[in-house]
Symmetry: C2
Subunit: 372 residues, 2 copies
Amino acid sequence: MNPYPSLNPHPRILLGPGPSMVHPRVLSALSMPLVGHLDPDFLAIMNDVQALLRYIFQTENRVTIPVSGTGSAGMEASLCNFIEPGEAVLIAINGYFGIRLADMASRYGAEVDTLERPWGEVFDPDEIKMALRRRKYKLLALVHAETSTGALQPHIREIAAAAHDHGALLVLDTVSSLGGVPVEIDAWGVDVAYSGTQKCLSVPPGLAPLTVSERALAVLHSRSTPVANWYLDLSLVEKYWGSERTYHHTAPISMNYALREGLRLVAEEGLDARFRRHRENAVLLWEGLQAMGIEMFVPAEHRLPTLTTPLVPEGVDEAAVRRRLLNEYNIEIAGGFGPLKGKIWRIGLMGFSSRRENVALLLAALREILAS
Amino acid sequence: MNPYPSLNPHPRILLGPGPSMVHPRVLSALSMPLVGHLDPDFLAIMNDVQALLRYIFQTENRVTIPVSGTGSAGMEASLCNFIEPGEAVLIAINGYFGIRLADMASRYGAEVDTLERPWGEVFDPDEIKMALRRRKYKLLALVHAETSTGALQPHIREIAAAAHDHGALLVLDTVSSLGGVPVEIDAWGVDVAYSGTQKCLSVPPGLAPLTVSERALAVLHSRSTPVANWYLDLSLVEKYWGSERTYHHTAPISMNYALREGLRLVAEEGLDARFRRHRENAVLLWEGLQAMGIEMFVPAEHRLPTLTTPLVPEGVDEAAVRRRLLNEYNIEIAGGFGPLKGKIWRIGLMGFSSRRENVALLLAALREILAS
C-alpha cells in the first residue's frame, strides 16, 4: 500500500499573515539528525534558544521559553497559568484575537469583562484606565498587533503601568509583532507575552515564544488551585527549561533546531536593522498600492508594518484575485474574515518574506490581474 | 551580537525511549519549503496524513488526526474532551504514564478512581471488570505500552468490551506501541487512542496522532460545558481537519510534511513486516543481554519489543555506563525513574532505530564497558 506520491509542494511566495517564508539556513537546521531531549547537546541548544529569545523580547526574564505548540498554545499558556476559577479578567477586544483571548479565559473559569473597539481601531490608554478602575482584575490582556485587522496598539508602557497600579498583570499578544516591530518587554513592563514562530521570526509554525515576569511567576507560584492544563502548566515546564531539567514532555527537537537558527539570523541582522527593513518594505508596498488607487484600511499612524490590510477596490472579487495570485504567480496573500470578510486583503511582509523583490513582484502581479 | 556557533549536534545513535532515529527521507521532507496552512497543497497533505494514520491505527474513525503538540498533548486531548467536572473516571496505573493520566484527569475536575499494580506488571481483565462494577465511570484510561517499565498490556479487546458493558469509553495510550506492535483500534473497540511521532513512527517529536470513535464523538458533542481547553478542543479542531477547513490554529506545516513521509515509510514496509522486524531485533537484544548475564525486568510474556528494560547488574553504576555509551560510542539509552531509578536501563528499538546493526553495536559497546 503506497498510493501517496513524494512530497512536492508548490514553490510558494508566502505573503499572507503567516506562515512566512523560511530562510534556507533554517530549513537546513530542521533537517539535522536528532539528539535526545535530555542530551547535553540539546540542553545547550535550549540555553541558546532561551538567551536568544530574551534578546528578541528585550527582557531579562528567567522564564523565556518556546512553548511546545503553535502561537495559540502560547496564548493559552499566558492565561491558564494566571487565572483561577471565579477571578475577574479584563480583555480589550479590537479584532479576532481579542475575542479568542476572551473565549480562552472563560474556559478557565474567569469572569471575563471586555472592552471593545471596532475592528481596525486601537485603544486609548484612558479608556483602559477607566475600565481598570471599575473592578479589581487579576489580569488585563490585549493584542499588540492584531493579525485580523493590521492595527498596531500603541502606548503599551502606559497601559502596563495602569494595570500594575490596579494590581493586575498585563498579558500581551505579540504574535505578529515580535521580531518585526519593537517589542520591549522589560522597558514597557509587560508581565506575560507570547508569540508564534511562523510570523516575523520566519521559523515554521509549531513553537510559541513566551516570556513571564517575576511578578507573574509569583502569581503562578501562589495559586491555590492546580493549573487546569497539564501540558501548559508553567510550574512544571519551567523546571524542564530551568536548571533542574526535570522531564516534563519531550521537546520538539527539530523545531528547536530551527528556532535557534532563525533567532541566530535575527541576532546577526540586529533588531534595529530588522525593524527598519520591515518598515521600509511596508512603505514601498503602501506607496505601490496607493499608486494603483488602493487605500489602506488602517490609518498610517496605527498601521502595522508587518501586515498590511488594503481595502478591496469597489467591484473587485477579492477571492478571485487571491486565487489568481496563487495559481498564476504562486503568491499567497489572505482575505479578511469576520466583519472584514470581502472588504480587505491581508498582506504579510514578515521576516524572510519582507524583501524588496517580493514587494515588486506582488505589485506587478496585482497590476496585471486587476487590469485584465 | 552572535556568539552562537552553527548547529552541530553529535551524530547520536538513539536507543532510548524516544526520540528514535529519523530516516533521511523524513529529514529531507522536513526541509522542504513551506506552503500556507490553508494552501490546497497543504489540505491535500492533511488528507494523506489522516488516511495514513487510519491505516497505522487500523481504524475507519473519521476523526484521526495529528494533534499539534507532543504525545502529552495527545494524552491531554484524549481526556479533556470527554470529561466534565464532577464526573468519575477510572485510571489503571502500572507505571509513570498512568500516574500522569490521573493527574491530568483531576485537573479537568474528574473524580479520579485508580486501580494500581506495581510498576512492570500488567492488569488482568477481571480486576478491571470488578472495578467497573463498583461505580459508574465516564471513561476508563490505561496504557498499552508503559514507557516507564517496558510492559505491554494484553487483552485490550476484552477490557474495551467491559468498559462498554458499563457505559464507559476506553482511552488507550499507544505512545510506545503504535507502529511497533499491533494496535487495532476498530477490532479491539478502543474509543480514543493517542500516540507520539517520535517513537515507533520515527518522526521528530512535535505531533501526537489521535483517533476518536463515533461513540466518543457523540459524548463530545453532547457536553453541557465547553471543553476546558481551547487549543485541544476537538469540536474546533475537527472542523479544521474535516471538510469545513475552518481555521482553528496554524498547523505545524513542516512537522506534517515529516509525518506524512514517516507514515509513507510505514506503509511501504507494511505493518506486519514492521511488527516482525521490531520483534526480531528485540529478541536479538534480549538474547545478547542474557548471554552477558543480564536479565530482563519484565517477564517474556508481557515484554514490549519496542522498549527493553534490562535489570542493572549488581554493583554496576548504571548512570556511569550510560555516560560512557554516550561519550565514547555516541549511543543514547535511558535509565529508570521513580521506583525503578538505578534498577533498570531503558533501551528503545523503535522505528528506524530498530536495526540489526544497532543491536550488534550496543551489545558490543556494553560488553566493552562492563568488562573494563
